[in-house]
Symmetry: C2
């Protein structure tokens, strides 16, 4: 029986939420955790949403732009994106990313991932 | 000038929130991100709180118990702890952990870390 508390990210069915961005998601309480694998060269165009977002590079290098400010994200950095801030970016290498959204991204929860009890 | 959007975790002043657990925290919106470094052998005793918690091992191995279920957490796993679930654990090796709390842990925000605009 699957555990209610412990999850292997690789066992979550991936969803391609943007071209080349494969998301394995956990939806819990007021947040969505989005574990992304993306190959070098893929870009998510500038966009915005009501959710706050915190982005972490677990492996690789990712060029992120927020409100006109661009930085190369590497492990050990956090990018914090306020509600409605315009942002987008490009994978400079193959990357593993973690995006944390609040509140939960309901439109992503309807696409896939696992939804957990609060 | 420090960026409003990009942060180096190592530049955040650590706080020892439990013996041997050194936390570098970002408090944003409805959540706290807690980047922890802990040496092998340190234990956080069983406890509970109203906040939901999601725990990720970035490096190392960490034995986590939630409501009587124990698992060894390694990179690629997520532990999801519902509100008021009893949990605790031990670093089996030197570890880097990321705990995500919702709502923001106000009592931690008063101890340290950086507080960000929503």
């Amino acid at each position: 029986m699957p555990s209610a508390f412990f999850h292997h990210v690789h066992s979550i069915e991936p969803v391609e939420v943007a071209p080349g961005f494969y998301s394995r998601m956990l939806h819990m309480g007021a947040a969505t955790l989005n574990f992304i694998t993306v190959a070098a060269g893929n870009t998510v165009p500038m966009h915005q949403h009501v959710h706050t977002q915190q982005s972490i590079v677990l492996e690789g290098r990712f060029s992120m732009t927020v409100e006109g400010e661009t930085q190369e994200l590497v492990p050990g950095m956090v990018c914090t994106i306020p509600s409605q801030a315009r942002h987008g970016g490009t994978a400079l290498t193959d990357c593993k990313l973690l995006d944390i959204f609040e509140p939960m991204r309901e439109e992503y929860a309807s696409l896939g991932g696992i939804r957990l009890a609060e």
